[in-house]
Symmetry: C3
């Protein structure tokens, strides 16, 4: 694709030779001729000077730092995302149902949808326009998959769960398994049947081996535009607001409510029955034990040390009580010394 | 179902109109006409006053707080669990082997069992009376699945592993993968074949994408009544006592022994080669580094703070050493001051 | 197998009766007649005295502590690993493609390879000599699986990813799902197509439900001899050096580089865009927030306490600031007292 055509499709302005052929994106360091790169911050200017890219995306304020043909964008990273998408359109699978798939005659599969090999789809399930369900996925009774959604191989969706339009669900994800609900009676655990569903909005991406449990009584709800990385655990009756993003290995316990636009770093844990306001950012490895009412950034992950220094620091923490007592004693003694002196 | 009939099946007493028709359970807040709700603690009485439920389960001591038809139970939460089960009986799959399943002629499948589409079952495997193996499960050689057990789609059970009666295993669970056993020789890792099995008792539930590894030499053992949430990792040769319950994202390292009735909150980590007594409760996010001999509750998860406050607190921890030294110095000086004064 | 034959195959010397028949390995405690055990440290000598094993592997320095027939090895644990492998050779699946597998005519499957039931393999994929792909695995376009590799059931490999020779990949592992890459534009997340691959070296083992994401622009790289336990998350563009070993539930964020021979304990978290030198050992539950330039052992996991003691300790941490201020005040007062006295 010519650079000028790319700029036009991106809706951004161009400086320099628009006839350059662009066939792929790459980082400043790795780019070769025919590749488009991007500069997201002035500090990477050194890499820009050495790049072999044929063109670059950068902020209008920085347009004079290079002589390369360049696309100007007030959000170079978003512009790069769009350019990457234009240069790497999704490979569509052929429409139709593979002969090895097992699809109930009572399922509703749009003729434009692609159902891969060794898929099973139960009665009452619906697969929308241009949706793709790849090999080995299993959709239970009355599941609904929205238009243009893509399920990679080996995704499981339990009965009655709903996935919106343009979803991307990665392999091994499990949507709608039972929430962890038990009542204790005389030391034994009685299962509480989980009769809610999972309801997922539009434009949601769910990572590999992530699990979203069905609600106990009412539904677990994932808002529009939510992005979940791999190996995340969303418990029953959680509600994720629009455009929430969570990095890998995070866990959200039952009935937590997370406000729109909030983010959780990798390995974060959010306890149950609490709520986070909109725009709350929980850093990686942080453990959230109570509700957060104000937007902002919150942390609790302990910085690491060389092992022996850490052992000493950890042991010292138990001595703060002692320190408080000794300092209190010193204060009293000093007060009495001053008194006796006066 | 009429409320009186429900009370009779639950073995609990009824106050008020037993002819009310009940078709579902719901929370006090969400309940509609025809639904049964429950009050687990006096503090939810306000919600009880406003509920649209047609009937409610509560403790005999609280029977006068409402005029609604009510079932009296000394354990309202357990009673609600049972009522939910009565009103939502498990949908049984049709018995028989789906034509797309690949079942070894040397496997033993009870005629009452249901084997779903695209399942594979290897030689020597046994599936018990009324057991259900849903789509895409893979049972290796000599696996045994007990009577009335239910495997949701995409469960994998490695060779020779045993699962007891009435198990519920959720999608993506992997039972019997190799434990992580390697010997280091000249900087390289030599695999130690894992020749133990996984042996799972009766009435066990295992969550989605949870993994239970096979033993190195002897077996990994999961006791009767154990309940494991999603994305839990049970390493080789772990022994979980009866009725242990663990919330999501927990990990238990090799050869740990966890006593009956113990619980681990979400994201807890239990190191290897240690043992926890019966009735040990490890709170969410806690890291257990040594054996615990006494029943009780144990914690280590750091409470979060606003990010900048946390950075300061974390930095301060390294100064406890300094504080101890300074306080020691002060004590000496004060002692000498007092001495010189005397 | 006779003990003498085993010693010969292991390349180690033998003391005592080499005609003993050995059919399995076992721990000192559990071993029965006909079984071989091992002593890795002098402190287990008591168990050695009581063992029913027919023979034992131990260090030459300890050869006189038992009268049992014994194999002498300078690395008894590695020797035991090899003996276990000799006594438990891997069961090979029959070569050929199972009739229920769906294999593209444009895939290249070596005739010696074994493709199990209900596997799907897309166009351009290659499966090498003596490789085994078990039931329910899905290999996308242009995937390459090296000679002698073994994929357990339900493994998914996304398009263009490469797995080297002698790999062992456990069930539920997902290789090559999209990295978590999004650009924020006006509060919404724009997907950045992930156009790199995953490239895995030789002799790598990957645990059950572990995920290794494909690179954003360039590849995610797993070096030769790397061993990953279950439920590990390797993000896009991570580079794992040779013989890195990681225990379960660890996470490595995007673009982290981990040096050869490094290890990470269970539940460790490594943040993104940093690098660890060779020979760095991160203990279980540790959170690595910045690069580590020197080999050594590093920690941050908080030791647990009885719950109430922990609550007090955690609250005390917020008082270090106060302590520092009070001690500073005391020092000033004492200085002025000494001054006035002088």
């Amino acid at each position: 694709m010519q650079l000028a055509e790319l700029a036009r499709l991106l809706g951004e302005s161009l400086v320099g030779d628009g006839s350059v052929e662009i066939h792929q994106v790459a980082s400043l360091e790795d780019a070769q001729a025919g590749q488009l790169s991007f500069l997201t911050a002035a500090k990477y200017r050194k890499q820009l000077d050495k790049t072999h890219a044929s063109a670059v995306i950068l902020h209008p304020d920085l347009q004079e730092v290079t002589r390369l043909p360049r696309i100007l964008s007030r959000n170079p990273y978003a512009c790069y995302a769009k350019a990457t998408a234009l240069l790497n359109p999704r490979q569509r699978q052929a429409p139709g149902i593979h002969s090895s798939a097992v699809v109930s005659p009572d399922a509703h599969i749009d003729p434009s949808a692609s159902i891969g090999p060794l898929v099973s789809i139960a009665a009452g399930a619906r697969v929308g326009v241009n949706a793709t369900v790849m090999a080995g996925c299993h959709l239970a009774e009355n599941v609904s998959i929205g238009d243009d959604s893509l399920l990679y191989p080996n995704v499981t969706v339990y009965h009655a769960c709903q996935i919106g339009k343009r979803a991307i669900i990665h392999s091994g994800a499990v949507i709608g398994a039972d929430g962890f609900g038990f009542a204790n009676e005389h030391g034994k655990w009685l299962k509480i049947p989980q009769i809610g569903r999972v309801v997922i909005g539009n434009d949601v991406e769910i990572g590999a081996n992530t699990t979203v449990d069905r609600g106990a009584l009412s539904d677990t709800v994932v808002g529009d535009g939510v992005k979940l990385d791999n190996q995340i655990m969303i418990a029953h009756n959680v509600r994720l607001g629009e455009n929430v993003a969570m990095a890998g290995c995070t866990g959200v316990a039952g009935s937590a409510v997370i406000g729109a636009g909030s983010t959780v770093g990798g390995g974060g844990m959010i306890l149950g029955h609490l709520s986070l306001a909109e725009g709350v950012h929980v850093t990686a490895g942080t453990f959230v034990t109570k509700s957060i009412d104000e937007a902002g950034t919150y942390s609790s992950a302990m910085p690491f040390m060389e092992h022996r220094a850490w052992l000493r620091t950890a042991a010292n923490m138990k001595r703060i009580d002692e320190l408080l007592a000794r300092v209190g004693e010193l204060e009293k003694m000093l007060e009495s010394l001053k008194g006796s002196k006066a």
